[in-house]
Symmetry: C2
Subunit: 138 residues, 2 copies
DNA sequence: TACTAATTAAGAATGATTACGATTTATAAT
DNA sequence: ATTATAAATCGTAATCATTCTTAATTAGTA
């Protein structure tokens, strides 16, 4: 999924393709790491100085719904990253300082015996490894 | 770890064993599921009607540090549960409605090749399966 | 029992996120 | 190209969970 594809997805679903949306998608596409809403706002303000918090929050939520971004939660704050181009389902090692990631190919769901989940109706799962990347290590 | 052991742990570390702390530990020990701070407060107020939010937040944080509780984050809110008695490291299926849990014995960290994490210095990991328990299913 | 440090209550402050009314803009039909 | 309209945005206020502050209370101990 590149930027044009993301914008096409939006248009196909009836959403408008505004300059701010395109720039916001570009920011995530370029960074390829987890960003907070605030970080994304600051970067977006380099192009649109008067853009508001509301616009960022509204759009990252939309992008998550549209599968353009993926979301996680670190220390009471939501982080967003561009959904990886590799179509194969995978997980991440995440740097808790800068949001940099590294793919983990294996998914633990593949190794569970069918009755592990018992009477639960499964909705989702999360497997994340947290750490410090080379740059952020003390 | 039972309630007395938990209180002994606190005392050993120089913390005072107050009635509110003991009752709060008891609440989690009885429930054996994830609770929000608000839920814990409401239950604690059945015994101590004038107890404040601050007391709950301060103490659940302390209990997490002391390894008496474990913590997770669901939809922008922190949930806490009594640390399972089984000493063996494990993970959970969690009901996103009521916080009820079921143990998962396997840990995905055991199956990673050593170089998976590359240049990351690993701090922690999370593997959780989210779903609806039998009671909460529509 | 009295002292000292930890704990607590009450409410204010904080920080992230969401909501709202007014204004602007993208889109599609003319 | 112009216009109508519905969506998107701005600016700001509101909300929600959590943390902080200060003064009063309490547990542990001498």
């Amino acid at each position: 999924m590149n930027v044009e594809q993301a914008m096409d997805t939006l248009k196909k679903e009836g959403y408008k393709t505004t300059g701010k949306r395109e720039q916001l998608v570009k920011i995530f596409a370029n960074e390829k790491r987890y960003l907070t809403a605030k970080e994304a706002l600051i970067k977006l303000q380099q192009t649109y100085p008067r853009v508001s918090f509301d616009t960022v929050y509204r759009n990252v939520s939309l992008f998550v719904d549209m599968n353009i971004l993926e979301e996680t939660e670190l220390d009471g704050e939501r982080w967003y990253r561009y959904r990886c181009a590799t179509s194969k389902h995978h997980h991440h090692v995440i740097c808790v300082e800068c949001g940099k990631t590294k793919q983990i190919e294996a998914c633990p769901m593949d190794m569970l015996s069918p009755q592990t989940n018992g009477e639960f109706q499964i909705i989702d799962h999360k497997f994340e490894i947290y750490g410090l990347c080379y740059v952020c290590q003390p």
